[in-house]
Amino acid sequence: MMQIGLNHYLVLSTILFSIGLIGVMRRKNLLMLFFATEILLNSVNISFAAISHYYGDLTGQMFAFFVIAIAASEVAVGLGLLIVWHKKHNNIDLDFMSTMRG
């Protein structure tokens, strides 16, 4: 228990990932939904770093590095999309976003 092994990190990562999933599923405000997707990516990064550490291999850190880059890019595009939507509709609630169905 006190010896922190890889599994600890993996479990933590999973718990965080699940929290992210909760956010993704329950958030209706798109901005806050995007927060949750950040959590998803971050939780995985912990694992990558941990694996990298325990295997003594840098590849995991590389992966985490690129994940961070991707997360950042997504933020930019996501915000851009939210801005255009907000300009037209003055809200960012996804419940108002269901003109297409069936």
Partner: protein
Amino acid sequence: MLSPINVSIGSLNLITLAPMILPIVGALFILIIDMFKSGLDKSMFVMLSLLVLGIDFALLIESAGMFRANGTIMGVFDVMLVDGLAILSQFIIVIASMLFIPLALSQKRFHEFSYPEFFALFLFMIAGFQFMVATDNLILIFVGLETASLALYTLIAMHNRDKSFEAAVKYFTMGALAAGFYSFGSMVFYALTGSIEINQIATVLAGNNYADIGFVLVGVVFLLASFGFKLSMVPFHTWTPDVYEGSSAALAGYMSIVPKIAAFVVAMRLFEFLIHSGVVWLEAVLYILVIVTMTMANIWALVQTDVKRMLAYSSISHAGFVMAAILIGTTQSNSALFLYWVLFSFTNLGAFSMLWISRQKNLLPGQSSDHTFEKFAGLVKISPVAASIMALFMLSLAGIPPFSLFWGKLYMIGSAVSAGYTVLALAMALNSAIAGYYYIKLIVYMFMKDPVVGYRGDVSSINATMSLRVIIGIATVGTIFVFLALNPLLEFITSFVYNSGY
């Protein structure tokens, strides 16, 4: 101390990068031109993109020649992997893109084409897809995928109307979730094998004889979810109809082809070694996914009232059909996948182009969406040629011989039969029959009903220009006469797939 690493340029095989670099350079070039002189006409950018893609195509032929001579080439610290699959899929990507880009020259003015950035983003996207297929490194796949996806979200949104924003946001959000799944899945494999290269992963897993099957499966689940999203497998498909409806018809047609072939190639690389190693679970799950995707998508397509949405569901169904190739996992089935997709791209792009040329700016009174079935009612009386061509694409999609998709279906079902998946083959065949209904429905509207009173007669070709017609012409010719070119095509594909070890 860290010793400096000596790298000879020759050993990097930079040529492997060439087909991807080219669109990037082209995109940057377009941005630079725009910087110097703004307000240039879209036709210039279209032609420029076409040129770039043309050269790219030539480069691909070059790499194909190299592949023939030397087999699979690794390049740039073994990150790049130029094997048959990569080349074939890049061919499809580039050709489909070349067919797509002239569609920008529509009669009506649409918002996205007024941006030079549109073309730049488009070329970046192509590069992204090319990277995605030409590597077995999970990082590069991820980065390429995201590059392409982010560009694609933007392209959709740039259509600039409510539905396209909605579509882009939906696509984006689900894409973000899928990215999360992807990274989680990769993490599991990394944790298992200490590697993020698919080859290496396969070797390590085979080395310890899949001792941690539970872990493997968790990784597979997340990757499957992620690619299920990209390939719109049920139940990860929910974005597809909305996104297709929200984007312009041309882009929707493009989306039904290019992102999917890229995803297919990655899925092939990822899943087939697992299936071959006897991961029964994956086989069973893929079986279920394939059947459910084909059938449910077909059933939903039955009840659609909008042609574009119908085609969206039909694309899902076709993707499910092709997914069977990965489940089967023989050389024949993998060749069938590529053959199918080549033929599908001609036909489907043609069908979406037909919608594109009939796209009016605002909805007519009583019309609930852009391409309702009623809009096409009695088309044969107004424009027999347009009706015939549209009918041709529908028949091809339905798998009526001798039109292109029939041959794809034939070879695909044949591969299923040869591999002993007879029940699957039957399911595939029967699904084609269900699908027959909604394709025929459009033909029924066009040929057997009278035009809706009050619709303008030219509605079927309101957006037509020469370049659109040319594209449709190419698609038509391809759809009808492909059987003449089938043998060389099949031989080409088979040899490439076989020599890549799939």
